[in-house]
Every structure is written in structure tokens, then in C-alpha cells.
């Protein structure tokens, strides 16, 4: 069992990170080497500056707000929560003055960020079961939502345990020691990360996160990178 845990928490993490980075780079190189479209793909009337409107479209999803307002609320909550969790994970590597402008404990949001994300993911999952989204969905769509939900759920459980139930066996210092050891290529698994009562949550969190990262470059998740240039095409 300890071997399996080690594989998930060390070599699989390296492999997932490598596939994630190299996969995205290859995808982007293929895209950038492809010839540009010979004509404009713009929609009119146009608004200037086009770049600013493209950024507006990319980050505020105005078309979703207009046509599916409930979905828009969940999407905005999801993306904000995702960003906060990303910042939270960065803070596991080191202290950043910039992110501590508003002083907070690690993680941000006292457990509610993870809760929000989990609810949003359940909403995204269940709305796919309803027509007409059901007919246009493919297994990849459900799989990604499930993977992300499981990653968030097990990750949040650890946060909730510390924040809401004063569970103290697995601490931020333990996570930080583990992550920094991976960064400096001297992998070390602190005792608490593998033997504490909640260590299985950490292992499962990392396992599902690894799968998510591995799948990322080959899936529709590339929309997170391609949305801006695509919206720019629409804006002209």
C-alpha cells in the first residue's frame, strides 16, 4: 500500500506535471504553426478597442449572462472559486505578500471556496443530464466534471476538517514540506501525509488531480487558454 501511495504522490505527480506542460506546449505549437484564416471571422457591429472587448467576453461571459443567467452565476462562482483555490495552492509553496494583501489563513475562504466549487460542479454535472445539453454531451464532459469534483471534494475535506472540526494531524506545514520536496527534486513524504487519519484524502486528492492534469491538454479544457484568441477572432 505504501508503495502505491508513493507512486501516486511522487512519480505520478512528476509524470502528470510533465504531460500537462509538454502537452499544452505541443498543442500551442501546432496551433501557432497553422496558417491564419485568410479572411476576418468578425461579428458586427464592432466595438473598439477590440482587444478590450475580447478580454471582456473571455472573462465575464456576457453571452452566457444574457442567455443562461443561472448557468452564468454558477460559472462565475466556479471560475472565481477555482482562481482562489489556485492561489491557495500557490501559498502552499511559499508565502506571497501579494496574495496576503487581505490577510488570511491558508486556504482562502475558510472552507467555503471548496464548498462553492463542489456545488457548482454538481450543478454542471446534473444540467448535462437534461435535454438538449444531454444530446450534445460526450463522455469526456462527464468525466472531466467527475474528476474535478472528486479532486475538489477530497481536497476540500482536508480543508473542512482543519477549519471546521479543528482536525490538527495533517497541517499546512506538512503539505508545504511535501510540495517543496517535490519542487527541489528531493521527494519526501512527511509522516502525517501518509500515516495520519486523513492521509487517504490527500492521496486521493492528488490521484484525481494527477488524472485531471494528464487529461487536460487533450481535452476541451484547452478552452481556458484558447478562449481569449477565439473571442478576439469574433471581435475582429
Amino acid at each position: 500500500m505504501q508503495t502505491l501511495i508513493y507512486i501516486i504522490m511522487v512519480p505520478m505527480v512528476y509524470a502528470a506535471a510533465a504531460i500537462f506542460v509538454v502537452g499544452i506546449i505541443i498543442r500551442l505549437v501546432v496551433l501557432l504553426r497553422a496558417p491564419a484564416n485568410p479572411s476576418t471571422l468578425q461579428i458586427y457591429p464592432e466595438k473598439r478597442p477590440k482587444w478590450l472587448w475580447a478580454i471582456h467576453d473571455t472573462f465575464l461571459f456576457p453571452t452566457v449572462r444574457r442567455h443562461k443567467p443561472v448557468l452564468w452565476v454558477f460559472l462565475i462562482l466556479f471560475h472565481i472559486a477555482f482562481l482562489l483555490l489556485f492561489i491557495g495552492h500557490l501559498e502552499l509553496f511559499a508565502d506571497f505578500q501579494l496574495t496576503q494583501i487581505i490577510a488570511h489563513d491558508i486556504f482562502l475562504g475558510q472552507g467555503f471556496v471548496g464548498l462553492t466549487l463542489s456545488i457548482c460542479l454538481l450543478f454542471f454535472l446534473f444540467r448535462r443530464i437534461k435535454s438538449p445539453v444531454r444530446e450534445i454531451s460526450v463522455p469526456e464532459d462527464y468525466l472531466l466534471l467527475l474528476l474535478l469534483f472528486l479532486t475538489v471534494l477530497f481536497g476540500s475535506q482536508m480543508d473542512w476538517a482543519r477549519t471546521w472540526y479543528e482536525y490538527g494531524e495533517l497541517t499546512v506545514e506538512d503539505y508545504r514540506a511535501y510540495l517543496l520536496s517535490l519542487v527541489v527534486l528531493k521527494p519526501d513524504l512527511p509522516f502525517a501525509t501518509t500515516f495520519s487519519g486523513h492521509s487517504f484524502m490527500l492521496v486521493l486528492h492528488i490521484f484525481f488531480a494527477n488524472l485531471f492534469l494528464i487529461f487536460f491538454p487533450f481535452s476541451q479544457l484547452m478552452h481556458s487558454i484558447l478562449s481569449l484568441p477565439m473571442n478576439k477572432l469574433r471581435r475582429g
Binding site: 498543442r27 501546432v30 496551433l31 501557432l32 497553422a34 496558417p35 491564419a36 484564416n37 485568410p38 479572411s39 476576418t40 471571422l41 468578425q42 461579428i43 458586427y44 457591429p45 464592432e46 467576453d57 461571459f61 453571452t63 452566457v64 442567455h67 443562461k68 448557468l71 444540467r127 435535454s131 438538449p132 445539453v133 444530446e135 450534445i136 454531451s137 460526450v138 463522455p139 469526456e140 464532459d141 468525466l143 487533450f218 481535452s219 476541451q220 484547452m222 478552452h223 484558447l226 478562449s227 484568441p229 477565439m230 473571442n231 477572432l233 469574433r234 471581435r235
Partner: protein
């Protein structure tokens, strides 16, 4: 499907994979925001007419043959093998899509369904299963370009016969040519459709404005674009570009034909002439005081249908309204925002395919009929031949009781000396 055909079709597919196309094929999250955008889905409720469903048919082939995911784990994205049944599905998707790009306004990423459908159409051409009529019409246009001398005499005779009707709308000065053709150094080359209705009103307005113009030998419509064949599209386009260059004109003015305008405006690349729509040109004449219009001619309530390729996809929106406000005080908008205007349901070659598509065009456009009815207008104006035909068919089918008119004809009828 034999291997040779499959290989040829996949080569055609690969040639369409430029950067934008890859963006569109890589990115869809199937969020379903676009579902309400398509008039065919809104009218029939059939999911196969949603834009995401349409481009997923193409995307599954893309995954199978051009993406690692489709090769390693095809089930995840439902990657699909190219076979005869696929071709049938592509036909259904491509020739039920009018290429109006209304769904592009809805999509959070701006995925261009028309562009994705251009792959489907090209595969149909490659498999020789495209609508024969469209290919035949495209080939006739190309042939006309190659053998102009054969057609020239009959064309000139036909045009001569129209002069009387032009003069009825606007009497030219003595000695002036009513419909000038092949005028070297003219300021404007007008590219009409093969029909008197496309030439007579335009000629009257040009003459009234004192334009130094000339009529093209060629018709504007590009059947190559309808059938989704880039080679034929370019050949048809090149006839007009060559003529414009030979005559050294400053401006090429495209008649009321949405596809012709968009293809000419966006696909010609940098040229020594500018490309305008007739709506733009007529609005300019009014603005510059070169023509004046009599508002008393039009007494009923008028509404305007924005042709998708001219408005949402071509940017000619305000000009039509500018003209209409000089034609009448009794104008009512069809939609608050023109970019959300419902497609008439006749684009993408559907009207050109005639009776064959009539049933589908009517059932898939009931939402358009409802939109027209709600305006309460008696005159339904538009600036596109396809839209005009389709709206006329809808008018008959749904008994809308409107008079469908070309905007340029309304301008010609209201000219004031």
C-alpha cells in the same frame, strides 16, 4: 467507403485545418448556450439542428483522425470513423445550416459553425454527394467567365431591352448611356444578379446620383461558396476581380446578395479597389445629397430584415436604417439588436436549391414568420436576393400579409428630381 476515397476526403479535411478552425474544433465545451440560437431548432425543437450538435459531427472525425485523444481513447470524445453513414449525417447538418452565424453571437467562445460546416460541405464535394444543382450553377458561372465572348452579344442585347424601364424610374440626360457596360476608368463597377430586378432600380439610382459607373458582365452570386468548394468560389470571384482590374475601377459595388457581398468583401484580399454593398452606396448618395427621396411614396408601416451576411457578418447595419428613415416616418424595427435578428432560413444555398428544400425552409423558419408578424408592418424590406425569396415563400406559407420588397427598389421608386 473505400480506403482511397477515405484518404482523399481526409486530405481535404486536413487542408481546412487552419488556426481558427483548430481553435473551433478543439474548444467547444458543449455548454449548450448556443442551442437557442438556431432558427431551425427554435422552430422545430429537434436537437440535431442545434449548432453544437452540427459541429460535433465534424469534431468527432477531427478527434478520430487528427487528435491524440481520438486515437488513444476514442470513446471519451465519441471519435468517429468516416463512413458512408457519416457522409449522410454531414449532408443533413450542412444543408440545414444557413451559415447565418447567429450561434456565434451566443457561444461564449465565438465558435463559427458556418466555418465548421465548410468542412462538411467540402467532404460532400469530395464524395460527390453535394447538391448537384449548386455545383452545376457554380460550373455555369465559371464557364461564363472563361467564354465571355460567347455570352457577350446576348448579354448586351438583353441589357439594351432594360433601358426603357430604367428611364421610367429616372430619365437620364440626353446622350447619356442608361446602362453603361465595359467602361474603362469608371469610378464604380456594379455587379448585379442575373435578373432585371437587380439591374433596373440600381441603374436608376446610379444615374440619378450622377455616378460614373459601369455594369459588370458577370452575376454576383457565388454558387461555389454555397456548395462550399473553395476552388470554385475563387474561380467565380476571380472573374469579377479581373474585370475590375481591367477597367481600373475605384469601387466594386455588390448588388443585394448577402453571400456575394461577404465573399467579395472578405475573400478578395488587398485590391486596388474598395468593395461596397449597394445599400452602403445608396446611403452615401443620400448623405452627400446626390439623391433625394420622396417620403410620401411609402405610406404603410415598414420593417427591415437584416440579411445575415450583410449585417451580422458584413457590418452593413446603420446604412439600411439611414435609407429607411429617408423613405418613411413609419418604420418599425424587427429586433432590438440587429445582430440577434433571426435568419430568414434561406441562406447557405437552401433557396438556390428551390423546391427541394421548400418544406424544410418553411418548417425551420416558423420563428422568423412569428417575428415578422409581431412587427405589424405591411412592408417587409430587405437587401438580399435569398432573403427576399425566402421571405416571399414564408409570406405565402404563413399568410403574413406583407409586401416583401427590395430596399434598392424602394429607393428607386422614391427618387426625386
Amino acid at each position: 467507403m473505400d480506403e482511397k476515397t477515405k484518404t482523399e476526403l481526409l486530405t481535404l479535411f486536413k487542408n481546412k485545418l487552419n488556426r481558427a478552425m483548430r481553435y473551433y474544433l478543439d474548444t467547444c465545451t458543449r455548454c449548450g448556450v448556443c442551442t437557442k440560437a438556431c432558427h431551425a431548432y427554435a422552430s422545430t425543437g429537434q436537437v440535431r439542428y442545434t449548432s453544437a450538435y452540427r459541429h460535433e459531427l465534424v469534431r468527432r472525425l477531427y478527434k478520430k483522425y487528427f487528435k491524440l485523444q481520438g486515437k488513444v481513447w476514442p470513446a471519451a470524445g465519441e471519435a468517429k470513423v468516416l463512413e458512408d453513414m457519416t457522409i449522410k449525417e454531414l449532408y443533413d447538418a450542412a444543408y440545414s445550416c444557413t451559415g447565418c452565424r447567429r450561434c456565434m453571437v451566443y457561444c461564449p467562445f465565438g465558435i463559427d459553425t458556418q466555418m465548421i460546416m465548410s468542412i462538411a460541405k467540402l467532404l460532400l464535394v469530395g464524395a460527390s454527394t453535394e447538391p448537384e444543382l449548386l455545383t452545376m450553377l457554380a460550373d455555369m458561372s465559371i464557364e461564363k467567365g472563361k467564354s465571355m465572348d460567347v455570352f457577350k452579344e446576348s448579354f448586351l442585347t438583353g441589357i439594351k431591352k432594360l433601358e426603357g424601364q430604367v428611364v421610367e424610374k429616372w430619365r437620364s440626360e440626353a446622350g447619356e448611356t442608361v446602362i453603361p457596360i465595359d467602361v474603362d476608368g469608371a469610378d464604380l463597377l456594379y455587379v448585379a444578379l442575373a435578373g432585371a430586378h437587380s439591374i433596373i432600380p440600381a441603374a436608376a439610382v446610379f444615374n440619378a446620383a450622377g455616378e460614373h459607373w459601369t455594369l459588370s458582365f458577370f452575376e454576383a452570386v457565388n454558387f461555389g461558396a454555397f456548395v462550399g468548394d473553395p476552388t470554385r468560389t475563387t474561380l467565380i470571384l476571380d472573374r469579377i476581380i479581373s474585370e475590375a482590374k481591367r477597367l481600373k475601377v475605384k469601387e466594386v459595388c455588390i448588388c443585394e446578395c448577402g453571400t456575394a457581398f461577404r465573399v467579395m468583401k472578405h475573400l478578395t484580399g488587398p485590391q486596388p479597389f474598395k468593395v461596397s454593398s449597394i445599400t452602403e452606396v445608396q446611403a452615401r448618395y443620400i448623405r452627400e445629397g446626390r439623391i433625394r427621396l420622396d417620403k410620401s411614396i411609402v405610406s404603410d408601416t415598414v420593417t427591415y430584415h437584416d440579411p445575415c451576411q450583410i449585417a451580422r457578418n458584413g457590418g452593413i447595419i446603420d446604412e439600411a436604417r439611414y435609407i429607411l428613415h429617408h423613405l418613411t416616418d413609419n418604420y418599425t424595427e424587427m429586433t432590438k439588436e440587429p445582430k440577434y435578428n433571426w435568419c430568414c432560413g434561406g441562406g447557405g444555398g437552401l433557396v438556390a436549391m428551390g423546391e427541394e428544400t421548400l418544406d424544410f425552409r418553411m418548417t425551420s423558419s416558423s420563428i422568423k414568420a412569428d417575428q415578422v408578424r409581431k412587427t405589424g408592418a405591411k412592408i417587409l424590406s430587405t437587401a438580399c436576393e435569398n432573403c427576399h425569396t425566402q421571405l416571399g415563400d414564408l409570406n405565402d406559407h404563413y399568410k403574413l400579409g406583407v409586401d416583401v420588397k427590395f430596399l434598392s427598389s424602394m429607393v428607386a421608386d422614391a427618387l426625386v428630381r
